[in-house]
């Protein structure tokens, strides 16, 4: 079957999708977006976490057909997504045109909103790097998507809030302390404290 969906703001079409296929498989194998990781395939590890119509879900447990017509944000689109949310762009298209300075500053190449190449980093990504929260990196995409969504909902999370929000994301390297540091750092930066 064919599945049409929006991924990171761009309309996408996947063909020859098997009816029992997961959204994760479509993203990775059919749309060339390997950022979302495939590990447990049973919703235990959170490494495939994406936003589906804004809601964090395990993409391995979403049937491809269920994503028809839906809006998906993956880690590749996280920086753009965060930029638009923070007012650097307009997700809804309702805020009218590009400013002169912005238009002058535009240049071709170097960025790819699909793969995330060269698009810079979202605040949560930068915080993960600065806090040393990335080791092998396999759990990182899922943690970034989950942490970013929590900070959107809850700009001043307690440690308990962070632990709960990330309780569906397993990391076998870090012992989670650096990840906690990274999310605290991102929250503090978001609030203008650092």
């Amino acid at each position: 079957m064919r599945v049409n969906l929006t991924v990171n703001g761009r309309p996408q079409e996947a063909d020859d999708v098997w009816e029992g296929e997961s959204l994760l498989y479509v993203l990775r194998e059919r749309l060339g977006l390997p950022g979302s990781k495939n590990a447990c395939e049973q919703g235990e590890c959170g490494s495939c976490t994406v936003r589906l119509d804004g809601v964090p879900v395990c993409s391995c447990l979403v049937a491809a057909g269920q994503a028809e017509g839906r809006d998906v944000v993956t880690v590749e689109g996280l920086a753009d997504f965060a930029r638009q949310r923070d007012g650097g762009g307009c997700a809804s298209g309702a805020c009218g045109g590009t400013g002169l300075d912005e238009a002058k500053a535009w240049q071709a190449g170097g960025t790819d909103s699909q793969t995330g190449e060269g698009t810079g980093l979202s605040p949560i990504q930068q915080a993960f790097i600065d806090a040393g929260a990335v080791q092998c990196g396999f759990c990182t995409p899922g943690l970034l998507v989950a942490a970013d969504e929590m900070l959107e909902r809850n700009p001043t999370p307690s440690d308990a809030d962070i632990r709960e929000a990330l309780s569906g994301n397993l990391c076998r390297c870090t012992g989670y302390e650096k990840i906690m540091d990274a999310v605290r750092l991102a929250a503090a930066r978001q609030g203008g404290a650092v």
Binding site: W18, Q42, G43, E44, T49, C60, L61, A63, Q66
Partner: protein, 297 residues
């Protein structure tokens, strides 16, 4: 495999009537695991996520009509007052990602004895609203719903539309044993609801018998003991011997197995402990001592 995508409830019922073997899929948190692991290759998948009605709930006079697909996250956020036991149980389901997708309809459809919603539904009192194109709607009492390991009272052409859960008329609790706080299938679980209006106590046991069950003998004992001692009126602390007897009878209501998550004897023991604790917590709350009842899962 065919992917059926009904746009309305009527279309879904028609599809289920035409293809009784079709597997309904909503949150996908059970069905997709089975497909990913090649444990199941249904001929038809019946996607229910386009049917908006299933994501809505109505708070009525005596009960809440909870759409089958209302995610656990919504239950935790919006129905804590009306359905405190179910809200607590919802909070112990897996992880945020899973709670954003999964709902009570899936727990009922799968009918695993380990489903977290079951003890809360049994304790609160509930009816499952099932519907078929041929015979219309019927309400299945929760006590008659679970018929065997992963079996329920649904007919092949029926779908679960909603569950009607009695609004709490007293304190409720839910407690679950697992190796960590998140992402855990219950080793065993226990739900307890005080119903001061009828002066009764109801229970629900999870993961300690082939189906979710109530500890009816324990309930009858406790109802009689509370009545006899005038506890509902005098609000005294429940006598330790009464609490112990209640716990023992709850253990006796179990019919558990040994498996990777725990042994039968551990489950039986743990259910007794959970029974005594949840009784104490709810009773303290009933007595108005304002003891914190949240986060006790």
């Amino acid at each position: 495999m065919d992917f059926l995508r009904p746009a309305s409830w009527e279309e879904a019922l028609a599809a289920k009537a035409e293809h009784p073997a079709a597997v309904p899929i909503a949150g996908g948190t059970d069905v997709m695991v089975e497909i990913n692991f090649d444990h199941r290759r249904p001929e038809y998948l019946l996607d229910l996520t386009r049917i908006g009605d299933l994501y809505e709930w109505e708070v009525g006079e005596d009960s809440v009509r909870l759409g089958a697909s209302v995610p656990y996250t919504r239950i935790m956020e919006n129905l804590r007052t009306e359905l405190p036991g179910l809200a607590l149980a919802s909070h112990t389901v897996a992880s945020p990602q899973i709670r954003n997708r999964g709902g009570v309809g899936g727990n009922l459809g799968t009918a695993s004895p380990a489903g977290d919603a079951h003890p809360a539904l049994l304790a609160a009192g509930a009816e499952v609203e099932a519907e078929s194109a041929a015979r219309g709607t019927r309400l299945i009492p929760i006590d008659a719903f679970y018929t065997g390991v992963k079996r329920n009272a649904l007919q092949p052409d029926e779908l679960i539309r909603a569950v009607h859960v009695k609004k709490a008329d007293g304190p409720q609790q839910f407690s679950k044993v697992g190796t960590r706080n998140a992402m855990v299938i219950a080793v065993c679980a226990f739900g307890l609801a005080l119903h001061p209006h009828t002066r009764t106590v109801r229970t629900g046991i999870g993961s300690a018998a082939p189906t979710p069950v109530r500890a009816t003998t324990a309930e009858e004992f406790l109802n009689a003991a509370l009545e006899e001692g005038g506890f509902w009126d005098n609000g005294k602390i429940i006598t330790p011997s009464v609490a112990k007897q209640f716990a023992d009878l709850c253990s006796a209501a179990c019919n558990p197995i040994d498996d990777v998550r725990g042994t039968a004897s551990y489950r039986r023991h743990a259910v007794g402990v959970l029974a005594r604790r949840t009784l104490t917590w709810t009773w303290e709350s009933y007595r108005g001592t304002h003891r914190a009842t949240e986060g006790a899962a």
